[in-house]
């Protein structure tokens, strides 16, 4: 199938302006005749629901949380990028665009990324107007820092809690529309299917998590803002509830899933401490601005550290290897995430890892503490240091942090065109659940930017174009398609409850996570991926024969919720493996060991793989069909990424 990305004609810098003029408008008096469903109330969903309601549409918003203030956007620490150039250090819309395209290893769409950079400046203005307390200078103006692989200071932040403050801003805007009656808010409601009527998305099926009731909801369009699927690895920095279910059910109803193998492994996370571990905690990338990453120079020394015979602070300078500064003198500790993660893994593979498992490297603040004092460091990173100490019982003011890469973000997601519409008309995907802007690797402080760009400044325009061409006739849930979807959801719930086997959802989830991390994690091989595919198929079969959950579908049943999500992860996992196997190159977060430069860097194959792999569902247990969207680059030159 030919994928039409609907990129507007014209020069890059004019595409969005022209497109905004060319899109059809809905008459202000008619807007109230249209219903829009928004699923998810993180940055993308909260911003979209509020903005669409402000325009006059009737919005129904859904979240499985108890409140729209809890989505995992809230945990983003570092900041949000914007091409304001307030620091007079040479930033511009084009530079942010260029950095994002390059950072994504040339696997993102130029037009989308340019638009993202353009609207980034509006996001900051909007959030300030809402009362988001960004960090400020003594003169009262907004402060910036450099962050995650950027050589300009374009990151706006609110101490180490930027995501929280931005989400509370979107939540406040959403709350205002709920009070006005323009948004009907459904909390503790999990979306379990999309309803398609005559080829168009016309509603959803949800489960009320308190009563267990399966409900149907109709609308003229459906916007998914349901986040990423990093929890397919079981252990990740995602919140425990993060899951692929909404996106996956949409996929099974015809929405293509793009580049599922593009997952980001974040370099600075607190290492795993035991089998009971339920999640991994990120230490903000901003720490790499002042922290220096190192391991002992020799395997022998590393062994002594692992056995507790020597403390890291007692290791002499000469016996340390600041490997990022050594290998990448231009960027040093600030190389992009994929590069930093891979290098940490290489050090541990060489036997120079630290901590009792040997799966950690040091992030050392002794130099900055000596230079500026502990107080100044606390001003900047106090909450992060406190969090580290709480989890590890070690004081990072006294000894270096131990860090290790962990799954953090998924660049892949539902395929969308320039309008953020999926391959199903009337079904949109925003924020992390779409694939659109980060290519094969996301730069730091760009996730918040994309979520809010999509929600505040893109979807309000593009969805209008679709609605203007849709008659404002009421849609109702009496169409047989709703009954059919509802029956499917009910049957699946019953099936999960009826297996009555011996293994819990968490046991299956951990087993899947292990396979994914081993074979589809930081380094992948064709052989390993083929093995993983068989293992996942086997595990999935066992799941449907041996799952054990208790209780009924008519109550708050967290084991049942979890089982449904794990079931979908077991299907997604296989597609990720297929995608990784198909992509015979290394790019960004996708590192195939067979394809690397002599220095061990990712080796792209632009000739054969400069495309978006958009997978089309073909039915249960059937191989998915690959559709390609060729990526054309007219404004940047494809080069080997170099941070030396």
């Amino acid at each position: 199938m030919l994928l039409d990305s609907k990129i507007p004609e014209g020069p890059l810098a004019e595409k969005w302006e022209k497109h905004k003029f060319n899109v059809k408008l809905v008459n202000p008096a008619n807007k109230r005749k249209y219903d829009v469903i928004v699923v998810g109330t993180g940055l993308a969903g909260g911003a979209a629901a509020a903005s669409l309601a402000e325009l006059g549409y009737n919005v129904k918003a859904f979240t499985y949380h108890d409140s729209p203030r809890r989505a995992h956007s809230i945990a983003a620490q570092g900041g949000i990028n914007a091409a304001k150039n307030y620091q007079n250090d040479g930033d511009s819309v084009f530079r942010l665009f260029y950095d994002t395209i390059k950072g994504g290893d040339y696997r993102a769409r130029e037009a989308n990324v340019y638009r993202l950079a353009q609207v980034s400046v509006n996001i900051i203005d909007q959030c300030v107007a809402q009362g988001v307390p960004f960090a400020r200078e003594y003169g009262g103006l907004l402060a910036n820092r450099s962050f995650g692989g950027a050589q300009v200071s374009r990151t706006f932040y609110a101490r180490g809690q930027t995501g929280q403050q931005l989400l509370l801003g979107a939540y406040s805007a959403l709350s205002r529309q709920i009070a006005y009656g323009k948004v009907k808010m459904y909390t503790r409601s999990e979306m379990l299917d999309v309803v398609i009527v005559d080829g168009q998305a016309r509603g959803i099926v949800t489960r009320n998590l308190i009563t267990g009731e399966i409900e149907t909801h109709a609308a003229h369009a459906v916007v998914l803002a349901t986040g990423g699927y990093g929890n397919v690895f079981y252990l990740s920095t995602n919140a425990k509830y993060c899951n692929v279910t909404a996106a996956w059910r949409a996929h099974k109803k015809g929405a293509f899933f793009a580049n599922p193998c593009f997952t980001q492994i974040h370099p600075t996370c607190i290492p795993v401490s035991g089998d009971y571990q339920s999640k991994l905690t990120l230490m903000s990338e901003s720490l790499r601005n002042d922290g220096r990453v190192w391991v002992p120079k020799t395997v022998e020394m590393a062994e002594r550290v692992r056995k507790g015979q020597i403390k890291p602070q007692d290791i002499a300078e000469d016996d340390r290897d600041y490997f990022l500064e050594r290998k990448y003198p231009a960027f040093g500790n600030l190389v992009p995430r994929d590069v930093a993660s891979r290098n940490a893994k290489m050090m541990c593979d060489e036997g120079r890892g630290v901590g009792s498992t040997g799966l950690a490297v040091y992030l050392d603040f002794s130099e900055i503490i000596k230079r500026t004092g502990a107080d100044a460091v606390s001003q900047k990173y106090g909450n992060l240091f406190a969090m580290y100490e709480k989890i590890t019982d070690e004081d990072p003011y006294q000894m270096p942090m131990r860090i290790y890469p962990a799954v953090h973000y998924t660049m892949g997601g539902l395929w969308v065109d320039y309008n953020l519409q999926t391959s199903v008309p009337g079904l949109y995907a925003t924020g992390e659940c779409n694939f659109s802007d980060h290519g094969a690797n996301r730069l730091g402080a760009s996730a918040l930017m994309q979520g809010l760009a999509d929600g505040y400044f893109v979807i309000p325009y593009t969805i209008g174009d679709y609605l203007a061409q849709t008659p404002p006739k009421p849609v109702d849930t009496n169409h047989p398609a709703f009954a059919e979807s509802k029956a499917y959801v009910q049957a699946r719930t019953e099936q999960l409850l009826s297996i009555k086997g011996t293994r819990t959802p968490t046991q299956f989830h951990k087993a899947l996570g292990h396979i994914m991390w081993e074979y589809c994690g930081m380094a992948r091989t064709a052989e390993g991926l083929k093995h993983a595919k068989g293992e996942i198929q086997k595990l999935r079969k066992e799941f449907w024969q041996d799952l054990k959950i208790t209780g009924t579908g008519e109550e708050l049943n967290q084991a049942l919720e979890n089982a449904g999500r794990v079931a979908d992860f077991l299907e997604l996992g296989e597609l990720m493996v297929d995608d990784a196997l198909n992509r015979n190159e290394s790019c960004g977060g996708h590192f195939r060991e067979e394809y690397q430069t002599p220095e061990g860097e990712a080796l792209r194959d632009d000739e054969n793989y400069a495309y978006v792999a958009a997978w089309e569902y073909q039915g249960d247990n059937q191989p998915e069909k690959l559709n390609k969207e060729e990526l054309t680059f007219e404004n940047v030159k494809l080069t080997q990424r170099s941070y030396k």
Binding site: A47, A50, S51, D66, R70, H72, I74, A75, K84, Y86, I124, Q126, C127, V128, A129, Q130, G131, V132, P133, F134, R136, E137, G140, L141, A158, Q161, Q164, S172, S175, R176, I178, A179, T187, I210, A239, K240, S273, G274, Y276, S278, K279, L282, G355, S356, T357, A360, M387, K390, I391, T392, D393, Y456, T506, K548, I549, T550, G551, E555, L556, Q558
Partner: protein
């Protein structure tokens, strides 16, 4: 294991857990035993162990709210040994680690207790009253688009920092659970202070505080008697000063009200 405390011994614990099938049902404390709990586990990971044990035994796992498990989403809300989020100061339940307990301890785990927070099931409560208070005025009325340049409103750093401190409230409800009156004053005051301190919030300053306080009362939260246990138990350190600001804002608004409603 790579835990920081390789010599710490696993613990065996007795748990007294509040079990309540649904909002209407009568609840009760049920005793459970968990074994081999690592001191490096978080409190919720300890409950995960209990729930896996219960599932394997064919029993209903204990329902509790949680999500980010890094202390920021505000979902987790356990009343542990009579204290909001347990014994460690400035800590959410998910960031409380078992090294704060000892082998052989008995731990009592209850949901938040407040009329305005009805129990959904077991340890999960309904905190939608907080959302309704925010809906009553916890925002600046600006639509998307048309905002002036972010640097057109300079704000002194100390004001901005104070607003930020108030804005860090995670909406968990620990303040309500800790208060003998089940008052929500600390929660309400955090949002009122944030927006009263900032120039952006100035236009709606009076109506905001009046409407939010009215909604707070309507939800059935108790009155504030200046005990201060809310601030003492707040996991993110929201200061009692905010309640003073709220009282001042409320009085000033009432005295000079232009709220025509």
């Amino acid at each position: 294991m790579a835990g920081s405390n390789p010599n710490a011994k696993p613990m065996n614990l007795t748990l007294n857990v509040w079990r309540q099938p649904n909002r209407q049902a009568q609840g009760k404390i049920v005793e459970y035993h968990v074994k081999d709990i690592s001191p490096d586990m978080s409190f919720l990971e300890m409950l995960d162990v209990l729930n896996e044990d219960l599932l394997h035994a064919g029993q209903d796992p204990v329902a509790f709210d949680h999500d980010c498990r890094e202390g920021i989403c505000g979902s987790c809300d356990l009343f542990i040994n009579g204290r909001s989020h347990g014994p460690e100061k400035g800590t959410t339940t998910c960031q409380l680690h078992m090294r704060k307990f000892s082998d052989g301890d008995t731990i009592t785990i209850e949901p938040w207790r407040a009329n305005a927070f009805p129990v959904n099931k077991d340890l999960s409560v309904d905190r939608s009253a907080f959302d309704r208070i925010i809906q009553a005025g916890g925002y600046v009325s600006v639509n998307t688009g048309g905002a002036p340049d972010g640097n057109e409103i300079p704000i002194p750093k100390e004001i901005s920092d104070r607003a930020f401190e108030a804005a860090t409230c995670i909406g968990c409800g620990a303040c309500v659970a800790a208060c003998k009156n089940a008052s929500a004053m600390l929660f309400v005051s955090a949002k009122v202070s944030q927006l009263a301190l900032l120039p952006q919030g100035n236009v709606e300053r009076k109506t905001r505080v009046e409407n939010m306080v009215a909604q707070m009362d309507k939800e059935g939260f108790g009155a504030c008697t200046n005990i201060g246990s809310c601030a003492a138990e707040c996991p993110v350190g929201i200061s009692l000063e905010n309640i003073a600001i709220l009282n001042r804002e409320f009085l000033a608004a009432k005295a000079t009200s232009n709220n025509l409603a």
